[in-house]
Amino acid sequence: MEFTGRREDGKGRRKGRLATFLSSRLPVIVLSSCATLASAGHGDENLPSSGVGPFRPLTDTELSHANVPPYVFSDTAALYREPSVLPLSSDPGAMAVALYVVAHVGGHDAIVRTHADDARSFYGGSADNQDTSHPRHVPPVVLKADQPWEGTDLSGPSALSVGGQVWLYYAAAGGIGLAQSSDGATFTKLSQPVLAPGSGWESTPPRAPSVAVFPDGSWHMLYAAGDSIGEATSDDGKTWTRVGDPVLAPTPAVDPSTLPPGVQPPFDEGQVGDPLLLPRTTIAGRLQVRVLYTGWNAPPGTASRQSAIGLAGRYGDAGPLSRQSAPVYTVALHEAAPALFEWSGGSLLYVQEDDTSISPTTPFTSIAAAFAPVAGTLPPPAAFPDSP
């Protein structure tokens, strides 16, 4: 065995010393490289998303110090619920929004309006009114029951920007109505419901409307009735024709004893409702109809039933919806009635939710907010506005 620095000449001894020197330094060179500090890893920036979850509740650093996360609009008397959000700017980076919610006012349920410049710090909520340097801010009632077909209470606002106007669909005892406004605050109602109670599978009057205009100019409305979600179409947003069968029904019930350990029954096997219609054109040029909805695990009237926010969808302008088996937002606080604000920085989900910030054992209903993507961050909150 020969083991020299070079095989075929006679200079191995001298080169062997140099080789020894360099060989002894090689580990030092290698270890010097190893000693550098690592930076944080990347690789998951700007990931594609349908923009509809999963969502995470807002945290205290993302809200004004007066807000108790994740609640963004609350009042123990008004019991704000069933939010509908409307962007106030066409700038994709702007976060100013108007929020229409159901409030308990004067013994009845009406629709009030508020707004926030950052989509989180809303005028007239309990957080805003902790500031005693200004008179109490009260969100104005923009719509209350005053038509014979409406009964005494309004619910389910769905605000839509149409040619410089705000169209506000709402639900009442006799169906779904429409009010129009040029400033988003003073509304004029149509005298008759645009969607009267139906028959067949619709065991209750329609409620919780959500209206959108598709890229082809056609109007589509999703609404809840009975335990399911139906669809109607229109050419002008005022005259509606029902599609027929429900586009989304509760997931067929599953016997829990047949499920593998740890697997929960479907979250929406009791009832589906509160649809939020969100059409978009995907990057591949397809129409994707996204629908957020409330799923309940038991039928109405069941004492212990829970709810969660689910995601359904379809490609194209007609047909039933498919759904995700897992909810996109669930906190076991009776979350329901989703509304969504999408801007260039992400998506904010608004829901009504049990508010335990005052009493853990006696919650009341407030508007909570959640954010997607879950790993993203929101810009710092802004000040509360001075006007609704």
Binding site: T4, K15, L18, P48, G262, Q264, T361
Partner: protein, 457 residues
């Protein structure tokens, strides 16, 4: 001491080295598969399995080590910058960069040419990176994380016949077994008032795979090669124990929470590979034309999705749970969607032209091409293992100084390489309209630049 005695001691030394080579062997991961090892080899599109004798033979074909003419030391650096996009937006995939190098130590064992080769790639950002992502999260499966690895290899080779060289080694790399203990108090309504203590214990263990290579000189101007690289995977196992009192505000604990989480993740799976190569010497040896075909057993790929087993123990407080508080439920076990992935054959072609031949130095011009068809099928379902076909075009220059100085009586080489990998944009159409990710496009390019210096003795 006679000649016989002098022979015996080096033989023992060689045997020890051989044992080290076979026991420790190579530590191989993925960066070299994608970006090459050594500037000459990268410039030639990686088509060198029948035409490599320096430190990079520890990756391309250990049999080539047996043809080393002398003791060589190599050192270099490369940097590969990703510009990979989904929906036209850069995903920020980290660059792969760091030092490369190695050494070849030739000798004779019972008059049979014999050599030990050492090679390394040391990232200058982190030694290794392990990420276990949800299977529905879009990620560049072949480029993000997988290529950020420490690579270290030792191989041995012999030339039992003048026209035959054989080499091989064993590969190892670290696997992680860890325990995470969390204990303390959880306030259900005051997260900032919760106090938890963490304790992490982690062990790095070794996994191994073999590799072998053969090189046959069919004629003076034509050489064939065959290489086998074994399968490799990192197991990342983390067990987490959570023990905490659960309360409301400062009223004391309602109950105790106990969670035992056991996770098992296979990370950085490297499939077995077989390389068949040929090298032709043309123009009197001034031009080398090489072709390699690499079969990669991607069909055996195990995606890095965490398998989670959770055991939850939360006894209800006295009097039951307060209104508005639902007892926690353990997370559902992860149902892993099988990945649609298949074997591929990757062609590599390379040219090396000795453009300048002077008594004291030589100049080389090199070029190469590689086409790596994506092994991953269209991600139309819930998973999002994003990948695209890759066309890699490379070029390089080299200078060989022939015994330039008395202190360095061997040759000195400087090689540089540039490689552009283009991933044509592909569109993924989701079957399920309720998919949270939706349709997307993916594509981009990667620039890889490097330089290597080699000193012979």
């Amino acid at each position: 001491m006679g000649d016989e005695g002098r022979m015996r001691r080096p033989s023992v030394f060689a045997a020890v080295l051989l044992l080290v080579a076979l026991r420790a062997g190579d530590a191989r991961a993925n960066p070299l598969d994608v970006f090459g090892f050594g500037s000459r080899e990268t410039a030639m599109g990686g088509a060198v399995s029948a035409d490599v004798t320096d430190f990079s033979a520890t990756y391309y074909n250990p049999a080539g080590l047996a043809l080393a003419h002398g003791f060589e030391l190599s050192i270099g650096y490369f940097r590969a910058d990703h510009s990979l996009y989904m929906n036209g937006k850069d995903n920020g995939v980290d660059p792969v960069k760091g030092m490369i190098g190695g050494a070849v130590v030739p000798g004779k064992l019972f008059d049979v040419p014999f050599a030990i080769g050492v090679g390394f790639h040391v990232p200058d950002d982190r030694l290794t990176r392990v990420r276990a992502l949800p299977q529905d999260q879009p990620r560049w499966e072949m480029y993000d994380n997988r290529n950020q690895r420490l690579w270290f290899g030792v191989d041995a080779a012999i030339s039992p016949l003048p026209w035959l060289q054989l080499g091989g080694g064993v590969t190892f790399m670290a696997a992680t077994v860890a325990t995470l203990d969390i204990s303390g108090h959880v306030d259900l309504f005051g997260p900032s008032d919760s106090a938890l203590r963490h304790e992490v214990n982690a062990d790095l263990t070794l996994v191994a795979y073999p590799d072998f290579g053969a090189r046959v000189e069919v004629t003076k101007d034509f050489t064939l090669s065959a290489v086998y690289r074994g399968q490799f995977a990192l197991d990342l196992n983390v067990d987490a124990n959570v023990r905490a009192g659960v309360g409301l505000g400062r009223a004391g604990d309602l109950t105790t929470l106990g969670i035992l989480l056991a996770t098992d993740t296979v990370d950085s799976f490297l499939p077995q590979q077989v390389v068949l190569g040929g090298s032709w010497k043309l123009l009197g040896g001034a031009l080398h034309a090489n072709l390699d075909l690499t079969w990669i057993n991607w069909g055996a790929y195990v995606p890095p999705v965490t398998k989670l087993q959770a055991t939850l123990n939360v006894p209800p407080p006295q009097g039951g749970w307060p209104a508005g508080i639902a007892p926690p439920t353990p997370p559902a076990p992860v149902t892993i969607t099988p990945i649609d992935i298949h074997d591929t054959v990757v062609p590599h072609v390379g040219l090396e032209w000795r453009a300048i031949a002077r008594p004291s130095w030589q100049g080389f011009v090199r070029g190469g091409y590689e086409f790596a068809k994506s092994p991953i099928g269209a991600q139309t379902g819930p998973t999002n293992y994003v990948d695209c076909d890759r066309h890699s075009i490379s070029a390089g220059l080299g200078v060989r100084l022939l015994r330039p100085a008395s202190v360095l009586p061997g040759d000195v080489r400087f090689d540089v390489a540039a490689q552009l990998s283009v991933l044509p944009t592909e569109t993924t159409l989701k079957v399920d309209a309720s998919d949270p990710v939706g349709d997307y496009t993916a594509g981009g390019h990667i620039w890889n630049l490097g330089a290597t210096a080699t000193v012979g003795f």
